[in-house]
Subunit: 341 residues, 2 copies
DNA sequence: ATGAAAGCGCTAACAC
DNA sequence: GTGTTAGCGCTTTCAT
């Protein structure tokens, strides 16, 4: 028995067929789990495959099937490191989970700047992947347009900023933020501030809109002094909260547009000697799994990320199958009450 | 002119050839930048490609070339989210940069748990990628073995824990940690503590070894009270530092095995009312771009991550070309002195 | 410089 | 149930 060491030409269907004493077609049927194979043939083929360490050649297969069984999660980001965003990590995990029981593979592609975006676009159009889930976090991203025009099946994670007509899955950010602010209002809070997300990210925009909606619904004005912009990070939340406390020492509640920022905000409040939720009530938005461990525990708006990821996969599959009519979806959020509000 | 909307069969080499009035072979030559094409032919072909929006079919191409022009960065991690590790984000960025001017594409693959590891292994062996850069962070990872046995060209990021014979690129963690500790010794510090990385990660192990080496070189014992384990995160560093201060209030210096942990340690020191570097000198290890913004600025051991990533790509290319003799490399680190030590 | 032709390894009719 | 056959779209000799 010659050791199958390292590379060298890997065995082909033909060779397996020869060893098993059947035709290529039968081997192919076994490999593809076709029912039209006799038990004996199947056994013989399986043995030959085992013995030869046969692995189907992907290129040959997808040349004829026009499928790669691979989808890409594309991270289109102009500058900083999205990776550190725990929301992204959660998305990757949930997507992997959603694909665990399927034959589909998931690859991550990053596109920072124009050149990489082009490279990614080329990659997708060359047929390396069957479809793309795109996390396009900022405005003016050419990738959605490029991919859509090239006919690459596409689902966006998050509603697109420019209102273009594409298929997307998003959480109900407006509704969640509205509910969060209403909870604060119902708690009798009168000076409700907010730490927003970046103004050029849809989650930031929508959550701020929800805050405004709730205040408007209660007949309250929006005081600009009570609105500070953060960047979804803990450090940013800390900074924004400190700013708010300086500008409006009389605030008695704050809706923070992401949990990492909320953790930072809690730090700022503690440092300022404000008790939570006694002096100041806090509600966050569950982008990261930090709410439960925050001190004090954080009331937060939860997003059904698992459901959203399953949905993205399902919609993408439908598009891959050729269904052009798949519609965007917005997933409900819900308030999880803990101690801080 | 019929709009090329969406999908439908994309044009083939044949069609381009027909439109340009040449043969398939000539089109192929143009596409592949062969010099053996007349200017006129090239022009005609280019025009036809443009008009048809022709994109070469990857499957067909790699069926014959046996290349995909794609390499994978595989993240093999048993449990938690590595993404949040800024070191990982830097690696991705530097790898992308190293590949920017090449025809090579980079995809990220994550493998959490056995099932996903198998999926990734299959993916690589099926010929989806030409080679793999593996960040295997913990012990007992089967992936290096699987991939190597399957003949997939492989370069490890970081020295493997089990000393197996594979090609890897690593920073000189031992040397860097030794230098850091020696700097502290040279500064006249007598009670030098360390916050280590996890005991099952090579970077953590090696940096602790360097700390011991330096102390041994100075004829000093290693006091177990002065060693606390962190997890490379800021929170972990904070915790470990607090623990050290409780156990050994007389410590006057600390080598912290990663910058995020060092930032956490600085917070713990501040909270304990220790001045830095007056009471306690601190040196970190530059896994993340936080040293410069730390307060006070952090003296740190810098790793040449850009060089390391270029090297990984170069070694992997050589392996892909069939060179079996490429050796592992360890890259020098250097101390960057700022205010804290 | 260019074209004709032979495959790369696989799947999918289609016959038997 | 199984084998035969015809390609999938591309690169690559080999003539010319």
């Amino acid at each position: 028995m010659t050791a199958v060491h390292g590379r060298g030409p890997s065995p082909t269907l033909e060779e397996v067929a020869g060893l098993a004493g059947v035709s290529r077609a039968t081997v192919s049927r076994v490999v593809n789990d076709s029912p039209r194979v006799s038990p004996e043939a199947r056994t013989a083929v399986l043995a030959a495959i085992e013995q030869l360490r046969y692995v189907p050649n992907r290129a040959a297969r997808s040349l004829v099937t026009r499928r790669t069984d691979t989808i890409a999660l594309v991270l289109s980001e102009s500058d900083t490191q999205v990776f550190s965003d725990p929301f992204f990590a959660r998305t990757v995990r949930e997507l992997s989970a959603a694909l665990a029981d399927t034959e589909l593979n998931l690859v991550l592609l990053t596109a920072r700047g124009e050149r990489e975006q082009e490279k990614v676009g080329r990659y997708a159009r060359q047929g390396h992947v069957d479809g793309v889930i795109l996390m396009s976090l900022h405005r003016d991203d050419p990738l959605p347009g490029t991919l859509a025009a090239a006919g690459v099946p596409l689902v966006l994670s998050g509603r697109p900023l420019d209102g273009r007509e594409v298929c997307y899955v998003d959480a109900d950010n407006v509704g969640g933020a509205t509910a969060a602010t209403e909870l604060l209002l119902a708690g009798g809070r009168r000076r409700i501030a907010t730490v927003t997300g970046p103004g050029d990210m849809i989650a930031g925009i929508d959550r701020l809109a929800g805050y405004r909606t709730a205040l408007a619904g209660a007949g309250r004005p929006v005081d600009p002094l009570l609105v500070a912009e953060g960047d979804f990070t803990e450090a940013g939340g800390n900074r924004a909260m400190a700013e708010l406390l300086a500008r409006a020492p009389d605030l008695d509640a704050v809706f923070v547009a992401s949990d990492p920022m909320a953790v930072g905000a809690l730090r700022a409040l503690r440092r300022a000697g404000r008790s939570v939720p006694g002096d100041v009530a806090v509600v966050g938005f569950d982008d990261a799994p930090v709410a439960a461990t925050a001190d004090p525990p954080l009331t937060t708006v939860a997003q059904p990320l698992d459901e959203m990821c399953r949905l993205m996969v399902e919609l993408l599959r439908r598009r891959i199958e050729g269904d052009e009519q798949v519609a965007a979806r917005v997933c409900a959020t819900r308030l999880v009450r803990r101690a801080s509000a």
